[in-house]
């Protein structure tokens, strides 16, 4: 091979690599830019306290985003995550003794039983979604929209406009407590992210999730039980949302109607900004972590530099739009690169 030849092929393979890795590079690049920008703009940004603050703010969203990553990897969507988190948080309060001044009908149970029952409720709601999507064949977009409404209904019925403040001790510890100055919620979220990463990368189930997202028809013709995989990710998502709801109410210190309203958009944004393909089959937990950090840094930084709080909403919207453009563009590049 001549020199010209080899540089040419190096160039083209570099281009190939870049286009393959676009969905991973763009979010990391965004993160670095944001960190540098805010570090220059605000002296407190790089303090340990502030960095921990970013992490703990991202931790509840992070738990939701874990489940959502599974769902989006299969090419489905779950719009019920935030509503479900709230409903499950409230359900837990419902099973816990509340102080006298809280005017909510409850069925108080011992802490552990309460936790188990609450998790079982999350499982049940997830199973309903899974059934609707796989057995009846309702598109997940619509099915989870209905589930969102149902979960909101459950929340409304249980709290009736009141606010609950007391939760099982274990949950209060995990949601609001600290160890060596580190919030437990950060630890729980990190462990969950790690576990999900291991599942997605090193297990058979994880491989199926990617393959179903990559080409559902092909998975089916290879004898993969596609419905089971999709049902499973819907249930995983509901369980993650449920856990986030339990820790979340403890984190906020209260359970009430509309307690998680921002979380749907933030969790979906985190997954998508991180670069997991909206069409399924590409991305993963690594991407979601970057996405969580991008959003966390952005929210925190915008607060620090004290800009117009109305402008903040717009900026978040623009960042999400940019991420969507990159997401779809990366998909096209990838498909174009593998033209047969």
């Amino acid at each position: 091979m001549t020199l010209a030849d080899s540089t040419k092929s190096q160039k083209s393979s570099l281009k190939q690599l870049l286009s393959d890795q676009m969905r991973n590079i763009a979010p990391i690049f965004t993160l670095i830019i944001l960190v540098l920008f805010f570090a220059v703009q605000s002296p407190v940004f790089f303090s340990v306290a502030n960095l921990l603050n970013i992490l703990s703010n991202a931790s509840i969203t992070g738990i939701i985003a874990v489940g959502l990553t599974f769902v989006i990897l299969t090419g489905e969507i779950d719009l019920s995550v935030a509503a479900l988190a709230n409903a499950i948080g409230i359900t837990m309060a419902f099973f816990t003794i509340q102080p006298d001044y809280v005017n909510i009908a409850t069925i108080p149970l011992p802490g552990l039983i309460c936790i188990v029952l609450t998790l079982a409720s999350a499982l049940a709601l997830g199973a309903v979604t899974a059934f609707g999507v796989t057995k009846i064949g309702i598109p997940s977009f619509i099915m989870t929209l209905a589930m969102m409404q149902i979960a909101n209904g459950v929340s409304a019925l249980l709290v009736r406009g009141q606010i609950a403040y007391t939760f099982p001790d274990l949950i209060t510890l995990l949601g609001a407590g600290k160890i060596f100055g580190l919030r437990w919620s950060i630890i729980v979220c990190s462990l969950l992210l790690l576990f999900a990463h291991l599942v997605l990368t090193y297990t058979r189930f994880g491989r199926y999730v990617f393959m179903v997202g990559g080409n559902r028809e092909a998975a089916e013709y290879s004898g993969v039980n596609v419905k089971m995989i999709i049902g499973a990710v819907m249930i995983i998502s509901a369980m993650c949302s449920g856990l986030a709801g339990m820790l979340g109410v403890a984190y906020f210190g209260s359970a009430q109607q509309n307690g998680f309203d921002d979380f749907l958009l933030t969790a979906i944004s985190a997954v998508v900004v991180g670069g997991t393909s909206l069409f399924g089959g590409r991305g993963g937990i690594g991407n979601t972590i970057i996405g969580l950090l991008v959003l966390g840094v952005l929210n925190n930084g915008l607060d620090l530099i004290q800009i117009d709080s109305f402008l903040k909403i717009l900026i978040r919207g623009l960042i999400l739009l940019a991420a969507l453009v990159i997401n779809v563009y990366a998909q096209k590049l990838k498909e174009g690169g593998a033209e047969g």
Binding site: Q16, G206, Y208, A219, E220, S222, V224, E335, E339
Partner: protein, 515 residues
């Protein structure tokens, strides 16, 4: 490599001047193209005259599609020169090529299933009335006429996706055939067509040629190529071997050029002597199966160690039969009996667990284009090699064995599947079922899109599987495939079994007459 690309030998390879239209409408000079490390084309000279049908043949991966994609503006980057009507051109996109009068039908279907037939025919250039409103009436009428000239009677407002693949292929062809392009490139256009459909297509091609259009015709059906082409070019391994008048070539000589050696035993069966053995144990029976749509009272018996062939024209229900057996489509009436027990599959995975394997006719349906080859091969056996955790090393090992056995090119486990040539993709689709022998193997069009050598390989492998006791069902619209493989033959027509052959001599005409 560098030596050959720097020597100028173009003069010696000038196209042979012949016939009334001698000017080349297209000339490719010293064209090379590589993908990463793979050299798909090396210093190829290639020209097409005005008003000729030019056959292009070569083994899987020889570079045929790559050359055509360069001409049609799909691959913008390449080394070498391209001249259209004597003028150097450089296309940056397929749109540029279209504007220059070059239209291509790709090997992989590229229709849009959710649009109507007429919309597919006029994709991107719908007739409009004043004010830019689409002229639906004219669009549908013209589409109907064009499709009719291919001998089809399809309502142009039908949704494309509801048609069988063969009809979709014809509609796609009509899009380019009647686009007014002066150079029409057809990359394996006949792979899903029945003999009468192919005849009608050829009539249209000859008419277009006589109008002065030029046509490139790529196919692995060498008889077809020799019958329709005026000149034939053979590619081997990214290089042009020869361009010759079709009249001066025979099938044998073409094969010899393709594979670079003699072509003994490279013939597919034109006839067969069947000797079905009714004493072999029955593995699967289909009794009076109907799916409420395409299949009517189909009965079939598959025996251990036997290949049952089902022949029929496109749209006769072969595809539906296969889907039903693999648990993809539901049975409305009738039963499926495996090892003496009636069974009903709730899903494809239930069918797989019952020991049924299926290779569909359309590779896009069972392959993951952006995933590496080894993941494509291992997907169907993941639960056999892993319990919970993946053992990727083992997956690669298994893939390597299959790549060697099936001679998949390039022999790499981690290249993205979409980067393989069409025929090699087909081999991967077969490979995924070969690690753990299924009880029943359903092969839909197993040799479609494969070159002679690869067909031989597939035939050898399928027969070996039979000899190891697999009950095999081969469904095909190619009589040669059926005659070469089958121990017994069933002919289907309009969703019904119309004829069965189990003993004695049959040939192509028997099958065609029955279908």
């Amino acid at each position: 490599m560098s030596a050959s690309s720097s020597t100028l030998t173009g003069g010696a390879k000038a196209p042979s001047v012949s016939g009334p239209h001698a000017e080349p409408i297209l000339e490719m000079r010293h064209v090379s193209k590589s993908f990463g490390g793979v050299k798909a084309l090396r210093d190829v000279d290639f020209s097409i005259l005005q008003g000729e049908i030019h056959g292009l043949v070569g083994e899987n991966g020889a570079g045929k599609s790559t050359m055509m994609k360069i001409i049609a503006g799909v691959h913008a980057g390449f080394e070498g020169e391209m001249l259209v009507s004597g003028q150097p051109v450089h296309f940056r996109s397929a749109r540029d090529a279209l504007a220059a009068g070059i239209g291509m039908v790709h090997q992989e279907l590229s229709v849009i299933p959710d649009l109507s037939v007429a919309e597919n025919v006029f994709l991107g250039h719908q007739p409009v009335m004043a004010g830019g409103v689409i002229d639906w009436r004219r669009m549908n009428d013209t589409a109907r006429q064009q499709i009719a000239s291919l001998g089809l009677d399809i309502d142009p407002t039908t949704r494309m996706g509801s048609l069988p693949v063969g009809l979709q292929q014809l509609v796609e062809l009509s899009r380019v055939l009647f686009s007014g392009a002066k150079l029409i490139i057809l990359d394996e256009p006949t792979s899903a067509l029945s003999p009468p459909e192919i005849e009608r297509l050829f009539t249209v091609l000859r008419r277009l040629r006589d109008d002065g259009r030029s046509i490139v015709f790529i196919s692995h059906f060498l008889d077809d190529v020799l019958a329709i082409a005026d000149r034939v070019t053979v590619f081997r391994n990214g290089e042009k071997v020869i361009t010759e008048q079709a009249s001066a070539l025979t099938k044998d000589s073409v094969i010899a050029h393709m594979i670079g050696r003699g072509s003994a035993n490279m013939h597919m069966g034109e006839s067969a002597t069947l000797a079905a053995d009714d004493s072999k144990p029955v593995i699967l029976t289909v009794e009076q199966a109907s799916d409420g749509r395409m299949l009517h009272d189909v009965s079939l018996t598959l025996r251990k160690g036997e290949i049952s062939g089902v022949y029929g024209f496109m749209g006769c229900g072969l595809i539906e039969l296969a889907r039903t057996l693999f648990g993809k489509n539901a049975l409305k009436t009738g039963t499926l009996v495996i090892d003496g027990k009636p069974i009903r599959f709730a899903s494809t995975s239930a069918a797989r667990e019952a020991g049924i394997a299926y290779v569909p006719e359309n590779r896009r349906m069972m392959l993951f284009r952006t995933e590496p080859v080894y993941k494509n091969i291992s997907i169907a056996i993941l639960d056999r090699i892993h319990s919970i955790f993946l053992k990727t090393g083992r997956e690669r090992e298994i893939s390597e064995t299959h790549i060697k056995d099936l001679q998949i090119r390039p022999p790499r486990t981690d290249i993205a599947l979409g980067n393989l040539s069409g025929g090699n993709q087909q081999k991967v689709a077969l490979a995924k079922w070969l690690t753990h022998l299924p009880h029943v193997l359903i092969l839909s069009e197993p040799t479609r899109g494969m070159d002679v050598g690869a067909k031989e390989d597939v035939i050898r492998i399928v027969k070996a599987l039979r000899d190891r006791g697999v009950a095999i069902l081969v469904l095909s619209t190619e009589p040669e495939t059926i005659l070469t493989l089958a121990d017994r033959v069933t002919v289907m027509k309009k969703g019904m079994v119309v004829k069965e052959f189990s003993h004695g001599h049959i040939d192509k005409s028997d099958l065609l007459a029955a279908a």
